[in-house]
């Protein structure tokens, strides 16, 4: 991980917040009927966006892990999030405490990962990336159907003891009513930060982590120095499954566990292209940018188009961005040889 790039990225993103604010202020003055702009309101929207962004980043993280280690674009990540959350709710409904249910759900995800590696990936070694991508869409369908067959398709509440009433902090001159925060999102941000730190430590300091980095760097070379590729793949898919579980818990507590959770994968894709498919810090920074961009876009620019632009705004943002930097913010430089 290149810390210098990360620092530049963070500084640039933070620096752009007041600049965008100024631009929006001008815009609001030009079209006062459509847009309301106030600095305290703007900051509140940005903070909401940042917290939302962490949630996106959590989903995107699972994609990045698998893409780094096996160059597979895992479309099933969203289904894994849903499946993990459903499993956890299932265990809670059996009367277990949520911590125990979490551990059991993690075990379930490890079993799923091993199964995927054995049944799907192993026979398809050396296939083209697009074929593997299609196979993960197949996994998406299987997991979706399986999860709903076992645990039903109703919306389920997932309660891990976080209150849903918003907090109002920093009451004072600048924020007359206080800054509104939703506890779930704050917890998600903390958990997200913890997860990333944990992953960074795992990748940097353990033997398995070193093997993972070697595989990500070069499959062939890793094989030739005796790293068991299949084992590593099973590990990566398990880790991605557990990250999915964390994301599922966070999304589940705020939205309820339901089928639409498997579609948040689609929300994580612009995050991926912004941050680069191969970079963990990229997933975080990309998530934050998309979260903020989406919120700010929806609240301040949306009214100009008649609203509900959330569906595509992040994609457009990412696409325009790609025109200038095709490999994403932190992606590996694309070097092509003939």
């Amino acid at each position: 991980m290149n810390l210098k790039h990360l620092a530049i990225g963070v500084v640039c993103s933070l620096g752009s917040i007041p600049v965008v604010g100024l631009l929006l202020q001008q815009l609001a003055e030009a079209a006062p009927n459509d847009i309301f702009f106030g600095w305290d309101f703007y900051i509140e929207v940005v903070v909401t966006g940042l917290l939302q962004g962490v949630m996106y980043a959590l989903v995107a993280l699972g994609f990045v892990l698998i893409f780094k280690a096996s160059a597979i674009f895992n479309f099933a990540q969203g289904a894994m999030v849903l499946f993990a959350a459903l499993a956890m709710v299932g265990f809670i409904e059996m009367g277990l405490h949520w911590t125990l249910a979490f551990l059991l759900a993690a075990v379930v995800m490890i079993i799923v990962a091993i199964l995927i590696e054995r049944v799907v990936l192993r026979p398809m070694v050396n296939q083209e990336p697009i074929i593997l991508f299609m196979a993960t869409i197949g996994i998406f369908f299987v997991l979706d159907g399986l999860g709903q067959t076992i645990w039903g398709s109703n919306v389920k509440a997932l309660d891990i003891g976080i209150s849903q009433t918003p907090w109002f902090v920093l009451q004072g001159e600048f924020f007359p009513g206080g800054l509104r925060l939703i506890p779930t999102e704050v917890v998600a941000a903390v958990v997200g930060a913890l997860t990333v730190t944990l992953l960074a430590v795992l990748f940097q300091y353990t033997k398995v982590g070193r093997a993972l980095r070697a595989v990500a760097d070069d499959h062939q070379a890793a094989l030739s120095v005796g790293i068991p590729l299949k084992f590593i793949w099973a590990i990566v898919w398990s880790v991605a499954g557990i990250v999915g579980l964390v994301a599922g818990v966070m999304w589940g507590t705020s939205l309820g566990v339901q089928f639409s959770l498997s579609l948040i994968a689609l929300k994580a894709l612009p995050v991926l292209i912004l941050g680069g498919f191969t970079s963990i810090p990229g997933a975080i920074v990309g998530g934050l940018i998309v979260g903020v961009g989406e919120q700010v876009g929806e609240v301040f620019i949306g009214p100009l188009f008649g609203g509900a632009i959330q569906d595509w705004f992040a994609y457009m943002l990412a696409m325009i961005f790609l025109l200038f930097r095709p490999q994403g913010l932190f992606g590996e430089r694309i070097i092509e040889r003939v």
């Binding site: 296939q127 074929i131 979706d144 894709l269 509900a308 569906d311 595509w312 696409m319 025109l323």
Partner: protein, 359 residues
């Protein structure tokens, strides 16, 4: 035994480059076409026409379009649904604005409009490749559906957001569009149109432009070095592909469903068409048809089998089991034959040439 090409000599380049160089193939396809055109409308039950053959033909056309872009030019696209919606809404606006114009011209114009949109969203392909491009095409998908949903101008301010195709005839007074047209007329119209467009596509991929697409697919830098202009090749692939997909979207709205809303062309539609070309075979015109047949028939088969076996399953369980079986079958197919049904077809033909005396 029945499939020998011994003794069929070619004496001209034209004969050598025929689409079906083997006489048996040529006769076989003519018989198939004649049978589909002359016999099926009279013997097939209405249910078959309406819910199997008509969607099959429309999906074949969409798969053909996506196959040109993804299978021949190597640009992965997930925006098929959006482009189908373009075709549907463009043709609706044109057909209601110009009621006297022949519906064929309306479809043609709608296709050209979609081609323009396709080129616009294809522009990023000049800079980005692979999965980055796939995600970028999702922008087209979400943006277009949002646009058709949001602005009621597209639906002539219909309060429900649904467009109902007006009845139109190609010649005489036999309607071929809208829900009131007879299924037989719709089927024959679709069969002729889709066959004609497939013939064009087949010839396109055999000619200079198709070869430049394939060169770009196989390695774009090498293609650039031997003198193929990537911009021209990629954007033309986007244009041609979007044209086909647009026409198929227009046909979907006008002949298959009769009335349609933007949500009918959501992201799942894109995946469905992508499945068709992967299962049918990337880079094979035949594959688009085989894949479309497979994907159209599979859900029907999955729905009827539990009924036939008399299994007491609830509707919900069947729907979930369907998802599982669908996913598992796709994985199975990709493991067994990643090059699709078209390759199986080819292998079958090779085997038949030697049968019953393989050496």
């Amino acid at each position: 035994m029945f499939y020998r090409e011994a003794g069929q000599f070619k004496t001209s380049y034209a004969a050598d480059q025929a689409i079906y160089p083997i006489r048996q193939d040529k006769i076989g396809i003519l018989i198939l076409f004649g049978f589909s055109l002359l016999a099926i409308p009279f013997i097939a039950p209405i249910y078959w026409l309406n819910s199997i053959l008509i969607p099959f033909l429309i999906f074949s056309l969409a798969a053909l379009g996506l196959n040109i872009l993804t299978g021949y030019c190597g640009q992965l696209s997930l925006g098929t649904g959006g482009f189908m919606a373009c075709g549907a809404f463009f043709s609706y606006k044109l057909a209601t604005a110009m009621p006297d114009t022949n519906i064929l011209i309306v479809f043609l114009l709608a296709g050209l409009g979609t081609a323009l949109v396709g080129v616009l969203f294809g522009l990023p392909s000049l800079r980005i490749k692979g999965f980055y491009l796939a995600v970028a095409t999702l922008a087209a998908q979400f943006f277009l559906i949002w646009m058709f949903n949001k602005f009621s101008w597209w639906t002539n301010h219909s309060p429900s957001g649904v467009i109902s195709a007006p009845p139109r005839a190609v010649f005489g007074d036999i309607d071929v569009t809208s829900a009131s047209a007879s299924p037989e007329a719709k089927y024959v119209f679709l069969l002729l149109l889709v066959s004609f467009l497939a013939l064009i596509a087949k010839n396109m991929v055999r000619s200079r432009i198709g070869r430049s697409w394939m060169a770009i697919r196989d390695m774009d830098i090498a293609a650039e070095i031997i003198g193929i202009r990537p911009m021209l090749a990629k954007l033309s692939a986007f244009a041609v592909s979007s044209f086909f997909i647009g026409v198929s979207g227009a046909l979907w709205a006008f002949t298959y469903s009769g009335s349609v809303e933007a949500l009918a062309f959501e992201i799942n539609r894109s995946f469905e068409v992508l499945f068709m070309i992967i299962i049918g075979g990337l880079g094979a015109i035949m594959g688009s048809f085989l894949g479309a047949a497979f994907i159209v028939l599979l859900p029907i088969a999955l729905d009827t089998i539990p009924l036939l076996l008399g299994l007491p399953l609830s509707v919900e369980t069947v729907a979930h089991l369907r998802l599982i079986i669908f996913g598992a079958l796709i994985i199975f197919f990709l493991i067994v034959e990643p090059h699709g049904l078209a390759r199986l077809w080819q292998i079958g033909k090779e085997k038949l040439r030697l049968w019953p005396f393989p050496y």
